[in-house]
């Protein structure tokens, strides 16, 4: 496993030295106590509290949602800290390194049109550096040629200095060959500069990979939402003054946000909303789905985006909500239809994505709602007669949810084919589940089900998956799994005129 690979900070050699509580500054890498042992962490922010100075730390190979403010007592000052490199801001190096790697394998990358397109954007960008030095975001861009070269050099140096780099899973066989495979696999999502990303977002999509430094730090500490208290995971661009508040209030139905309890109470006194402001397109005894047009319900959809941004790291709030439709899942009770989760979908996706962002609110997580959301997105794709895939990058939780959904459905079909002793193609599986063949293939790969036997490609069902499937089936006899009933969907794919497409939906 690649667990030990340093993910925080630059791979470049760093000046090391002992630090004290007063000299430790933003950008330093220090050893901090976390979950029972000291871990390498990057200091992203420093604040003074009544109990002393606190440091906002991002831990190596820990998701950002586990970032936290730590008191000085948890920092191990016995060990040396790595000082930030003054010439080369950390982010730039981090982004630049893979670009350098790419240059060695451009030939392979040509196979994938997406990768080549993005690569060409990068090269076009680097020819005309247009970023002024004054711009803060320049830190995050690898597009200045000089910087690029430095990065390449650094990369080579590092490789020479640490020959065991990436060695963890390269136990057998030719090391370089494996490296090439690895590099090739990594290529389809080469890093993008912020400029490219904004350019891409202009045309479509909802995901971002690069974030400015402020947005790496969680800004809202606690949220009162409906009957629940939520602890946000990530930064969300709520009004800046809210960062001063201990608690932010969000109206459960219209999703309006308040820093002041009196204002929130006054709002609740007037707010008459009891369900998402759109058309109900699905209802069973458990959940309802509503379809909401980002252009018509701008305020509501913006509020939803701000809310979900607190739990989705890569969600972009850079552009407005107009080109998206929002499919909102709710549960009903005597108070109204409570937001459980949602997914957004581009009105017209150039890449054939059927989901842009997808989220189950934390208070409803681990209850199977995510699976319902995912199933619903594929049911809509089936009605449209399209194959769909979620927009990338996926979050860790997103990947797990999708993997689970894909696995369960594929195993079910494959067991059926196995019983009938019938053959099946990847295409047929894809068409049956409204998944892209690419997703089918990667799932089969991840489950190690593709084999080569007696001169033929075959699919093998691992016993542990069959067992688990049988266990699930057994369990479902007593407690049936919640599923979407496609017959209850009252939905026609919305159509848009050429003028709407041209003039921003």
């Amino acid at each position: 496993m690649a667990g030990q690979e340093p993910a925080v900070g630059s791979p470049a050699p760093k000046q090391k030295g002992k630090a004290t509580i007063d000299t430790l500054k933003i950008g330093c890498l220090a050893m901090v106590m976390k979950e029972g042992r000291t871990r390498r962490a990057e200091v992203l922010s420093i604040k003074e509290t009544k109990s002393g100075r606190q440091f906002y730390c991002n831990f190596d190979n820990f998701n950002k949602r586990l970032d936290e403010w730590v008191p000085a007592a948890r920092i191990d000052f016995e060990q040396e800290v790595e000082w930030p490199n003054p010439e080369l801001p950390k982010e730039a190096k981090k982004a630049a390194a893979p670009v350098a790697k790419k240059t060695t394998v451009t030939k392979k990358s040509q196979k994938r049109p997406a990768a080549t397109r993005e690569a060409s954007i990068i090269s076009a960008e680097s020819e005309t550096p247009k970023w002024s030095d004054s711009m803060e975001s320049q830190k995050a861009t690898p597009d200045v040629e000089g910087e690029d070269k430095t990065a390449l050099k650094l990369e080579l140096e590092r490789d020479a200095a640490t020959p065991n780099y990436e060695d963890d899973d390269a136990m057998d066989g030719d090391e370089t060959a494996i490296k090439a495979i690895k590099a090739k696999k990594e290529l389809p999502d080469p890093p993008q500069s912020r400029a490219e990303e904004i350019e891409k977002l202009r045309v479509g999509g909802s995901m971002t990979q690069n974030q400015a430094d402020i947005s790496r730090i969680r800004n809202i500490s606690k949220v009162q939402f409906g009957n629940y208290t939520l602890y946000p995971w990530y930064f969300s661009p709520y009004p800046e003054s809210f960062t001063q508040e201990d608690l932010m209030y969000i109206c459960e139905f219209c999703l309006c946000y308040y820093g002041d309890l009196k204002a929130f109470t006054r709002h609740r006194h007037k707010c008459a909303m009891q369900h998402p402001p759109g058309n109900e397109i699905y209802r069973d005894d458990y959940v309802s789905f509503f379809e909401i047009d980002g252009r018509r319900q701008r305020t509501w959809c913006r509020n939803l985006c701000l809310l979900s941004r607190m739990f989705l790291d890569h969600k972009s709030t850079y552009h407005d909500v107009d080109p998206f439709l929002f499919y909102v899942m709710t549960t009903r009770d005597e108070k109204g239809c409570h937001l459980v989760g949602y997914f957004s979908k581009e009105k017209e996706s150039a890449d054939g994505f059927n989901v842009a962002c997808i989220l189950t609110l934390p208070q409803f997580q681990r209850k199977g709602y995510g699976r319902l959301l995912i199933q619903f997105s594929y049911e809509l794709s089936k009605i449209e007669g399209k194959l769909g895939s979620p927009e990338k990058p996926l979050s860790d939780l997103g990947l797990l949810s999708y993997r689970q959904y894909w696995t369960e459905n594929l195993i079910e079909i494959l067991l059926d084919f196995n019983e009938r002793e019938d053959k099946v193609s990847i295409e047929a599986l894809a068409a049956h589940l409204a998944m892209t063949p690419h997703d089918v293939e990667s799932t089969l790969q991840a489950l190690q089900m593709q084999i080569y036997h007696k001169g033929e490609h075959k699919i093998v069902l691992p016993m542990h998956l069959i067992k688990r499937h049988e266990m699930l089936k057994e369990k479902q006899k007593t407690k049936p799994k919640r599923v979407i009933d496609p017959a209850r969907i009252q939905w026609k794919p919305p159509t848009f005129t050429a003028a709407q497409r041209t003039w921003g939906w």
Binding site: G173, P277, S288, G398, V460, I466
Partner: protein, 546 residues
């Protein structure tokens, strides 16, 4: 092992693959394709190696109890009165919900007072009588007006630091709120002004940051929901042609409008010159008059005033004639040019006459109908035309010489039967129903009608020839009942029906009454004629149905 890798056939999406269970195959026999492959996850690369994700992925792949990715949990709030805050009850409609209202439309007043406002309001209400107190709702409404007006009148207030004076505000208050709030509004204005200045002349309510100027905005993560740039439409030949056509049409329409304006202009100019000329003439006449008076010529004043109408009269020889068409005429046509519409066409005259005739006939028909209004028909099967009272055109009485000939007169075409001049129509007699059945029935007189049926078949309808009584109501009964031909005919008779009895008693037995009801007449019959008309197919079409 390595050579085998090379020999592997390519796996395509369409390749049909066998599906096996792990226990159906010897594990030593096959190569897994994944030994060294890195599976694409779609997760960002630097997050892919995250400790918890890897642990979770490993657990799902390995069949162990699945590991969860830790996340800050959500909890039930304990210190909030949920039922008080969310007091509305929800009633699930039976059908799927369909609404389009926006957040702004259902949240009432857009200003929500906060604790700072509350402090001020409580201080303001201190010691005031209940009627004097300012309610929270009214307070919010007043502030809402202030904020709205600021946004509308000075959208850049935050930049140039302008503050709208109370005079402007009071005008808005008067417009939007009840007048009793105007006095209080002045007090609220002071509070609002303080808050406004404290917030740097921005909106009092915390709001999102939107793009203001591009340079700092791009890097500011708090700036959100920027407008997306308009997407470039793809240029195609069809789109080009479409655009060109649109432009051409627009250009043509503009050109037409321009010409219309130019023509109107020249018309008005001509009108003006005409008036000038008229005035000049008048002036000249006036001079003549003056000269005449001076010279003592006692002429008639006509040449001064009357001349013009006279002249006009000669110009328009028939002013009366134009009267019927006046409302149709354009006002601009007063230059006396005779209009085509004024010509009375012969065809119009004829049509008018025809209309009059038609009207007269209709009137008479109506009159007769009125006469017959109270009439109760006691007959079971009225012999006179019951359904259509219209004239039975087309039947010509057969004269004696034709009576025994089967060939009808062929000299008159059916067209001329149908199309008759209005003059003839007037002379046509109507078979009006009187209170008693007419004495002489046309049945005695044989008559013929020729018509052209479907497919060009020629039909001869004859009347007064057949002796067979054809009961209209009964005929249907046997239509699909051919087998019963031999059976005794069934008469549908109500034994207690005195009406029929009474009627029967009054009339003599028709001479040609035969009780041959069972005999069916399958041939198509003429629409609406009396029952005893039979139609026979003409000889030209032997294939006609029997």
């Amino acid at each position: 092992m390595p050579p085998r890798h090379v020999r592997q056939r390519k796996l395509t999406k369409a390749t049909l693959q066998q599906v096996l269970r792990e226990d159906q195959i010897e594990s030593a026999e096959y190569d897994s394709n994944h030994n060294h492959q890195h599976v694409e996850t779609g997760v960002e690369r630097h997050e892919e190696n995250e400790y918890h994700l890897q642990a979770a992925l490993a657990s799902t792949g390995g069949g162990k109890a699945s590991e969860e990715i830790p996340a800050p949990p959500a909890e039930k709030t304990v210190d909030i009165n949920y039922d008080a805050l969310y007091s509305l009850k929800f009633k699930k409609p039976a059908t799927y919900i369909r609404v389009s209202y926006t957040v702004e439309e259902v949240t009432g007043c857009q200003y929500d007072m906060d604790s700072e406002d509350d402090t001020w309001l409580q201080a303001y209400n201190q010691g005031k009588s209940a009627s004097q107190k300012l309610s929270e709702d009214d307070f919010e409404k007043i502030i809402e007006v202030f904020e709205d007006t600021t946004e509308n009148h000075t959208p850049f207030a935050a930049v140039d630091n302008t503050l709208i004076p109370f005079e402007t505000m009071s005008a808005q208050i008067k417009l939007r709120l009840p007048s009793k709030l105007l006095d209080i509004a002045e007090h609220v204005y002071g509070h609002w002004k303080d808050r406004k200045q404290a917030s740097g002349n921005k909106s009092i309510q915390p709001g999102l940051k939107f793009e203001i100027n591009k340079d700092d905005d791009d890097a500011d993560p708090y700036v959100c929901f920027r407008r997306r740039e308009v997407r470039q439409t793809r240029k195609t030949r069809a789109r080009d042609v479409q655009s060109v056509d649109k432009l051409k049409k627009l250009r043509k329409e503009l050109e037409e409008a321009r010409q219309l304006v130019a023509l109107t202009h020249s018309r008005e100019v001509q009108k003006q010159t005409m008036m000038i000329n008229e005035k000049a003439i008048f002036d000249q006449r006036y001079k003549v008059k003056v000269a005449k008076t001076k010279l003592g010529i006692k002429g008639d004043d006509e040449d001064f005033i009357n001349q013009k109408p006279q002249k006009r009269k000669s110009e328009f020889p028939q002013p009366q004639r134009t009267a019927p068409g006046t409302q149709l005429r354009l006002p601009g046509r007063s230059d006396g040019r005779p209009l085509e519409a004024d010509l009375i066409l012969l065809s119009e005259r004829l049509a008018e006459k025809e209309n009059m005739l038609q009207k007269e006939i209709e009137e008479k028909t109506q009159q007769h109908r009125r006469w017959n209004q109270g009439h109760v028909d006691l007959t079971r099967d009225p012999l006179s035309p019951a359904n259509g009272q219209g004239p039975e055109t087309g039947f010509r009485p057969a004269t004696a010489q034709y009576q025994y000939l089967m060939t009808p007169p062929s000299s008159v075409t059916s067209e001329s039967f149908d199309h008759q001049s209005p003059a003839q129509e007037k002379q046509e007699s109507f078979a009006f129903r009187y209170s008693s059945p007419p004495e002489e029935e046309p049945r005695g007189q044989p008559a013929y009608r020729r018509r052209i049926g479907r497919g060009g078949r020629l039909w001869i309808d004859r009347r007064g020839m057949s002796a067979i009584k054809n009961d209209e109501n009964m005929s249907d009964r046997w239509k699909y009942d051919q087998d019963d031909e031999e059976e005794q005919p069934v008469y549908e008779l109500d034994p207690h029906d005195t009406n029929a009895l009474r009627f029967r008693a009054t009339i003599p037995f028709p001479p040609h009454f035969y009780p041959q009801h069972g005999r069916q007449d399958n041939r198509p019959r003429a629409p609406g004629p009396p029952a005893n008309i039979r139609a026979i197919a003409a000889v030209q079409n032997p294939a006609a149905p029997p």
